[in-house]
Amino acid sequence: MSNVLVCVKRVPDPTGEVVLTPDGMRVDGRFAGYTTSPHEEAAVALAVAVAEASEGTVTVLSVGPPESIEQIRAALAVGGTDGILVEADSDLLGPADVAAAIAEAVQARQAAGTTYDLVLLGNDAADTGDFQVGVRLSYLLDRPVVAGIQTVEVDGDVATLRGEGPEGTEVYEVTLPAVATVLEGGVTPRYPSVMGRMRAKKAEVETRTWSGSPAGSGREALVVPEPPPSQVTVLGEGAAAAPALVAVLRELKVVQR
């Protein structure tokens, strides 16, 4: 039986136009809405698959404002068992702080009798993109860590993890307990069913705080660069533009014959 912890971060939806708060210190998500990274959705799907294969559990954890419960519930709706919300102003935390807050929650559960065999995170958060919370967490927990994996299979106390390296698919075999960070692409994200949503509403979510004091992220300001003026040459409309397009292809010497 594997107990998996999966960590998700509430982030302003970055797919539309990115709007900053007036002080330029954060992305304003009030209009765009909030989401989690595709990597974390993949991590959730892998966590659920691992737990299903072994009749284990999936705990979903988020460090952030009370509204992060929405992201926790979204993950619970696709198969999570329970949740942990570590309430904090995540904008004041740097990656070392987040790792410490997660580690404290893991250790508290361990003291209460639950060991997480596998902790899954995204490879990088969709907003701050620090690329380090998972690795930092592994050192705090003194566990091996593999970054950027796309699939995981657990057999007894060994996990086989696969990710893309420079020369091909790299395979790792690590002894549990372990930490891994996930890149999307190896698993289809799960979509919630009506049943899943109902279960998520009722699932238990523990709220806690972090006892540490934040070192912070070092952020001074955010800027959204002006897009450079368009330089596009419109070759024409519809099929009639084909000769003009092919002329450009020939000019670029990308047509061999």
Binding site: P95, F131, Y139, V232, T233, V246
Partner: protein
């Protein structure tokens, strides 16, 4: 004081992002530039380092390092940092570069800034780095004793130093701790032709997004890629809907491409997609919407239905 650069080698050559990192490190003017390579430094790498103005190339040769283990690489970077008396370490913002520096940061209690594009002040160290997938830049202070940075791709153009460096090769003794080998690559399953490796290195990429309309909407895209000897690249909508496999995805959470030509059809050009194709030399967009970001950011565009335009292009090519 010096700047240490983690140099990655791909098929015997210094990777492009590593050469960018070396140029960046030199331009800082923050002392001698040292390089560290895991494995024997090839003549080509030493030559690249010399051109880039590197004073010392630290090489760590140990059979235990033959299999990639990020923690062991971190131990190598730490040893090189001590040998170089570096107070700044720069790595390419690749999967490995980010992973290894994160290990160094965790082991030494240091701060790391990922995806840096520029340094605005050296003391205190203030960097600008890409966040939100490149949609915004964050100005951040990195204040630990030793500062760790990874470089966003193409933030600088690699260039030779005015005076070449000595590039003295210095062997680094790194006793590999078994604890650092707990997570190591146990085997590599070589890539087959036609998957993402081909995409990342392709000279021509024909791209398709939601505008393809469905899994059956790719016939002309495939045919054109074939005709131009290129690869097919797709948007995340296409992979999420299961129309095409993820290894064809271009973007922040897919492959980064840098072809001579990217022909992007039925792709809106979101910032996350752009993050993967911005380095294309020439971009041609085919889109029904003249206002789509892919169109306004492209070099050339055809406004129209890709299902009409692409067959006509194939006809024209004969």
């Amino acid at each position: 004081m010096s700047v240490l650069v983690l140099v990655e080698v791909e098929e015997g050559r210094t990777s492009l992002v590593s050469r960018e990192a070396l140029t960046f490190a030199r331009a800082l003017g923050a002392g001698d530039v040292h390089a560290v390579v895991v494995g024997a430094a090839s003549a080509a790498t030493v030559a690249d380092c010399r051109d880039a103005g590197v004073a010392v190339v630290h090489e760590a040769v140990d059979p235990a390092l033959d299999r990639y283990a990020a923690a062991a690489w971190a131990a190598v970077v730490e040893a090189a940092g001590r040998a170089a008396r570096a107070d700044l370490v720069v790595a390419p913002g690749t999967g490995r570069g980010n992973e290894v520096l994160a290990h160094v940061a965790a082991r030494r209690g240091l701060q790391m800034a990922a995806n840096v594009v520029s340094v605005t002040s050296l003391a205190p160290l203030v960097v600008e780095r890409q966040v939100v997938g490149g949609a915004a830049l964050e100005r951040a202070t990195v204040s630990s004793r030793v500062r760790l940075l990874t470089m966003a791709g193409h933030a600088v153009e690699p260039s030779p130093a005015a005076t070449p460096g000595e590039a003295r090769v210095s062997p680094l003794a790194v006793p590999v701790d078994p604890r650092d080998m707990r997570a190591q690559v146990v085997r590599v399953e070589r890539r087959e032709k036609g998957d993402s490796a081909g995409l990342a290195g392709a000279r021509v990429v024909v791209g398709a997004g939601r505008g393809a309309g469905g899994p059956d909407g790719f016939a002309a895209v495939d045919a054109l890629a074939e005709r131009l000897g290129g690869a097919v690249g797709v948007s995340r909508v296409v992979t999420s809907l299961g129309w095409r496999p993820h290894h064809e995805q271009v973007g922040q959470t897919g492959s980064r491409i840098a072809p001579d030509l990217y022909l992007a059809c039925g792709i809106s050009g979101s910032i996350q997609h752009w993050a993967g194709c911005a380095s294309s030399r020439t971009i041609i967009a085919v889109n029904t919407d003249a206002e789509a970001p892919m169109v306004t950011k492209a070099d050339y565009a055809v406004i129209g239905d890709m299902h009409e335009v692409l067959p006509a292009v194939l006809d024209e090519l004969g």
